[in-house]
């Protein structure tokens, strides 16, 4: 009842600003930390960046050429100096040029980012739909359908996505010829990758939502809705689902991260251009600027997404606004 004392509206903007400010500071910090972490950890990786520059591993570059490149890129400077230069450049928004692709990292990333983000976003949405569907079905249906839904959730959460991908290709591409096995423009090319990513995630979300949905369905306020003459469907749609969604929403930030992890696998299998694949390749051939670039972008995306989920949380749950 303490919230009766609503915040003096005069203070609202101020707090809003403070919120934004802290979020910005946090974001900058995280980006810096991520860059630093990546920079140093990648320097620990065996394999010579100069190699990567001279056309990657096995490029048969002569020792002289290597030496020259090390000179040119300042790899023979003390690590810390290199680090400062790196951070300096990043701060100026300059991600450098890819060792392997000889192209500016920004363009390399931009080419991939769109695809990956779309993939992840759509997968997240689909995962949500599946999860909600399962949860509702389980709660509205009888004991049998509940059991089935629960089983589905648990199993789908336990399926390795690359395996799922292969099975899908076998069934829907080779078997039924319904969908293209590898990335193709438009919706059809998106279906299998999305399902591959969405299904395991849906399993998780479903498990999370199930409990809160059940709780909401026998909470007093749903009872009073019934007492008001609300139908079961009305109760589920108007009241229960929103409550059920809350934990899922807060999870979405994490989910997005895991989706991007999944993208590494899915993009490789379905030959989709994207961040995940560039990242994997870049790490394997020690294309440091690309690795750092991609990591930064992913971190940025993560920050934005968590910000959005927080906002969504606050919209969905006023209690968070003034507890």
């Amino acid at each position: 009842m303490t919230a009766v004392v609503a915040l003096p509206s005069a203070r609202r903007p101020l707090t809003a600003w403070r919120w934004v400010a802290t979020r910005l500071a946090g974001a900058v910090f995280v980006l810096w930390a991520v860059a630093t972490l990546t920079f140093f950890s990648i320097r620990l990786i065996p394999g010579d960046p100069a190699e990567a520059i001279l056309g990657g591993p096995g490029s048969r570059a002569t020792p002289e050429a290597l030496a020259q490149v090390r000179e040119q890129y300042g790899f023979n400077q003390p690590l810390f100096v290199q680090y400062l230069n790196e951070i300096g450049r990043l701060a100026r928004g300059d991600f450098g040029t890819s060792y392997a692709l000889k192209a500016p990292v920004t363009t390399v990333i931009l080419e991939g980012a769109g695809n990956t983000l779309i993939l992840a976003a759509v997968s997240l949405a689909v995962a949500w739909l599946i999860a909600i569907g399962l949860a509702v079905w389980a709660t509205r249906g009888g004991r049998v359908s509940r059991a089935i839904a629960t089983g589905l959730e648990i199993v789908s959460a336990a399926v390795p996505n690359f395996w799922l991908a292969t099975i899908f290709i076998l069934i829907f591409s080779i078997g039924l010829h319904w969908l293209p096995p590898v990335s193709a423009p438009g919706i059809p090319g998106l279906v299998l990758p999305v399902l591959t990513l969405a299904i395991p995630l849906a399993g998780f979300l479903g498990q999370v939502m199930r409990e809160s949905l059940l709780n909401a369905l026998d909470a007093p306020f749903t009872l009073s809705a019934r007492a008001r003459g609300e139908s079961e469907t009305g109760v589920t749609l108007k009241h229960a689902l929103r409550h059920a969604a809350l934990p899922g929403i807060s999870l979405s930030g994490w989910a997005f991260g895991s989706l991007i992890s999944g993208a590494v696998v899915v993009e490789t299998v379905f030959a989709r251009p994207g961040l995940g694949r560039s990242l994997l390749n870049a790490v394997l051939i020690r294309d440091i600027p690309v690795v750092i670039g991609v990591v930064m972008v992913v971190a940025l995306v993560y920050i934005v997404v968590t910000l959005l989920t927080d906002l969504a949380d606050r919209i969905a749950d006023p209690r968070l606004r003034n507890p």
Binding site: G55, G58, T62, A103, I174, A271, R272, R286
Partner: protein, 523 residues
């Protein structure tokens, strides 16, 4: 399944037009210009839009291509090359002697970061333009492999105008004389090639003249074998390479699909033994290892009989290769040899030991070498029966090379593509072993250091006389075989799966690269 390159194409009349989609399982090249670096993925692509001075036929004979003729100086220290008349690059620049000079000297320039090409031109000191159509290549020593080298797609002739651009730009859109030109490159997805309408230089043996039939080639990068083959089956793509054995079997039995496999010249896929350190510094142990490896059954089971066991240290498609490496699985002999070599005691795991040290063989393996892990595993298993402790170490590409550079292995699976027996000089010459190159690239993975061998390949490189050359290379190969330095597995191959309605396909013999100049879609 039908053989599209053969009778089929002859029967029907080619229909021009259409788009062919090619899905490669090889890496996406960082640069579309094979003068930079120089590896197979680049060669596959570049064969469609770049051409060379010379053309090497299936028997290894050299024919002119962008060169009209050539004359080797009596001392063999220079070669005059006359370029073909009124050839223009797709950007309109005419082909002349200067173009030859620019290209060759660019390859030699370290800034170009050429690898394969530069090694091939090791003996070239420079190029003089004698007259507008004649370029003279100067050599430090006679080089019988020069013309072969100049017929590799890693030494193409590109438009000097285009080469004037920065390296990165030229990587995106190299300009040559080929039947197709690079239109666009969507990283990680595909390269789009379009027909060169003014094409005038079909290679010898081409089925027609003038522009190519296909309007467009979409060159997709599909690393995952399962997805790639699925794409071929579903008709999403028309041609795929690095066709997996089981898929080859499937394709053969599928009327709507065809299989094209050609073996590439050079060193076959082989497990090379590091004679530079124990235990393989002992010939007996090397022989024992080779005897203990049941390669035949491994190939039979893993590759479902779709590949031939390599019988030579040179791939069968390499001129002067001799089938003298007929090693066979003989565990008893292996045991006997190891006993003789003093590896008499065995530890609890049945691993032989010699004054305490176990008979361990470290083999780093990486996806870059097309040798199925199962083959390694089977060799590991059979070798264990005679007391070898084979340790397979999966590495990512970069780590694998680092380990290779540091000679940090006992055996390593590897191959080398080159359309000349001169590859022996590159991959077995003791020059590759000196300390200077430790920690940097070396192509002599066996650490063979044999003066007689070195001089043999040197002479072979110097003589232009075919017979002596053949003999010298025969002796050289014999040395490798007798010394049990390398265990040839199978010829590296270009393995393609095609839709049956892809007609008029053919390989360019020099490196067994596909060309789609004659190709048309029978739809």
């Amino acid at each position: 399944a039908s053989d599209p390159s053969g009778s089929a194409s002859a029967s029907a009349t080619p229909k021009p037009g259409g788009t062919l989609t090619y899905a490669t399982g090889d890496d996406e090249p960082p640069c579309l210009d094979p003068q930079n670096r120089g590896n197979v993925p680049q060669a596959l692509l570049a064969s469609q839009y770049l051409e060379e001075l010379f053309y090497q036929d299936a028997d290894g004979n050299i024919d002119p291509w962008l060169a009209k003729s050539y004359t080797v100086a009596p001392d063999g220290l220079s070669v005059d090359i006359v370029v073909a008349d009124n050839v223009t690059f797709s950007d309109g620049t005419p082909l002349d002697a200067n173009a030859v000079k620019v290209n060759i000297e660019r390859v030699l320039d370290p800034a170009t970061q050429s690898t394969t090409g530069r090694l091939a031109l090791a003996k070239v000191t420079g190029v003089d333009v004698i007259d507008p159509t004649t370029a003279r290549i100067n050599l430090s020593q006679p080089d019988s492999a020069l013309l072969e080298s100049l017929s590799q797609v890693w030494l193409p002739i590109e438009s000097p105008t285009a080469l004037a651009r920065p390296l990165a730009d030229n990587c995106l859109s190299p300009v040559g004389t080929g039947p197709f030109t690079v239109q666009s490159w969507v990283k990680q997805d595909s390269v789009t090639l379009v027909k060169n309408p003014d094409y005038t230089t079909p290679p010898p043996g081409a089925a027609h003249t003038g522009a190519a039939y296909l309007d467009t080639i979409v060159w997709k990068f599909i690393p995952d074998a399962t997805a790639r083959f699925a794409a071929l089956q579903s008709g999403q793509v028309d041609v795929i390479d690095t066709l997996q054995p089981e898929n080859a079997v499937a394709a053969q039995s599928d009327p709507s699909l065809a299989v094209q496999i050609a073996s590439r010249p050079g060193d076959p896929v082989a497990i090379e033994l590091n004679s530079g350190r124990a235990p393989f510094n002992d010939e007996k142990v090397r022989e024992a290892f080779i005897d203990s490896a049941d390669v035949d059954s491994a190939l039979q089971s893993v590759y479902l009989g779709t590949v031939e066991r390599a019988k030579s240290v040179l791939s069968s498609s390499t001129r002067y290769s001799v089938d003298n490496a007929n090693y066979s699985y003989d565990p008893d002999k292996a045991n006997q040899l190891l006993d003789e070599a003093g590896w008499t005691t065995k530890n609890s795991d049945g691993i032989r030991t010699k004054d305490g040290t176990p008979l361990t063989v470290v083999i780093p393996i990486a996806a870059t070498v097309p040798l199925a892990q199962a083959v390694y595993e089977q060799i590991q298993a059979t070798a264990k029966t005679v007391g070898f402790d084979v340790q397979l170490q999966p590495k990512d590409t970069a780590a694998w090379w680092t380990q290779n550079y540091n000679w940090d292995y006992d055996a390593i699976g590897i191959y080398y593509t080159k359309n000349s027996a001169d590859v022996l000089r590159i991959t077995y010459d003791s020059a590759g072993n000196n300390a200077a190159t430790v920690g940097a690239y070396h192509s002599n993975n066996t650490h063979l250091a044999d003066p007689t061998f070195d001089s043999l390949v040197e002479q072979a490189a110097a003589t232009t006389d075919d017979v002596t050359r053949a003999d010298l290379y025969k002796q050289a190969q014999q040395i490798i075989v007798d010394g049990y330095y390398t265990l040839p597995i199978y010829d590296q191959q270009t393995r393609l799966g095609l839709r049956s309605d892809v007609e008029g396909f053919r390989f360019l013999p020099s490196l067994s690269m596909p060309t789609f100049y004659d190709t048309w879609l029978n739809r």
